[in-house]
């Protein structure tokens, strides 16, 4: 299924408008799901369900929102921040996410800010149009 990035963005916007009850103009590419759009944990699952329907593909939750398993290991987290090893693990798990800003201060409380509209678009785009 050929679909341009703009078309993907538009569909992702529709999904988020329905799932989160926000206005379309709030769903900008760099809006964060939790901070800007008010998503809670159950919403992430709702978003996964809706993406699967909208794009007709299976979306393994850990591929789209893969951070959950990261926080339980003292190897990866120290003093509330990701260690070098943790950062490396994070990079491997979220290849669709821009981590440059986060790496300057890898506070785990800021992990939520990594989930942006853009990260979802990147993920869907990479699934639909594999390089």
């Amino acid at each position: 299924m050929a679909m341009s990035r703009d078309e993907v963005l538009q569909k992702v916007q529709e999904v988020l408008v329905d799932a989160l009850g926000v206005d379309e103009d709030e769903v900008t590419a760099d809006a964060t799901l939790m901070g800007d759009l008010g998503a809670e944990s159950i919403d992430f699952l709702d978003i996964v369900f809706r993406l699967e329907k909208a794009f007709g593909m299976k979306v393994p939750r850990e591929e789209l929102f893969p951070v959950e398993g990261l926080l339980n290991s003292s190897d990866l987290v120290s003093n509330g921040k990701l260690t070098e090893k943790g950062l490396a693990e994070l990079r491997a798990r979220v290849p669709h996410t821009d981590l440059r800003e986060f790496e300057k201060d890898p506070d785990i409380n800021k992990l939520a800010d990594l989930f942006t509209v853009n990260a979802i678009v990147n993920y869907v785009d990479s699934r639909l149009n594999p390089a």
Partner: protein, 168 residues
């Protein structure tokens, strides 16, 4: 005891759909205040009725082993007032299921007239990501809920309810 807000199930297809009935009566005390001289069923109680219908559908699909709680009202749109004497038909369909949650879509009708569309998400709270522990007993599905299902025959494959056996 638990608060039961639907009267009975009339159709039940395990893991797929459930249809329940709720009769609205002026004997319900809140209708005297909501509103004086103009009794209408509060919309939140239509959501409750759908949550019980969908919640039992979702719970039964896991043999009532999970503690199913309402986690999200994805959609709730109402098209008309509901008044004493009305019989509501609530149909819930299980659309999505994951290890930790499930989603339903639902329609409420009154004699084929669409009254409301209500989509819900239910969470299985023992599967929460925070690893929080809850009491072992399933406090959600006590006997009184499951008793509601006894009148409809559970059948995984049959689409239409069969006629009751007659004595003749």
């Amino acid at each position: 005891m638990r608060w039961i807000w639907i009267d009975k199930f009339v159709e039940f297809e395990s893991g797929r759909r459930a249809v329940s009935v709720k009769n609205v009566s002026l004997a319900e005390e809140h209708l005297h205040d909501h509103f004086p001289g103009f009794p209408v069923m509060p919309e939140c109680l239509m959501i409750e009725a759908m949550a019980q219908t969908g919640g039992i559908l979702v719970g039964q699909a896991r043999d009532f082993k999970e503690k199913v709680v309402l986690a999200k009202i994805s959609k709730a749109v109402f098209f008309d007032y509901v008044v004493p004497g009305d019989t509501l038909r609530l149909e819930a369909r299980m659309e999505t299921a994951a290890p930790e949650a499930a989603g339903t879509t639902g329609r409420i009708t009154r004699s084929d007239q669409l009254i409301a569309e209500i989509d819900l998400m239910f969470s299985f709270i023992d599967q929460n990501l925070a690893g929080k522990k809850f009491p072992k007993d399933n406090f959600v599905f006590t006997g009184i809920f499951t008793n509601l299902l006894q009148e409809v025959v559970l059948n995984h494959t049959r689409a239409e309810p069969q006629p009751m056996e007659s004595g003749a």
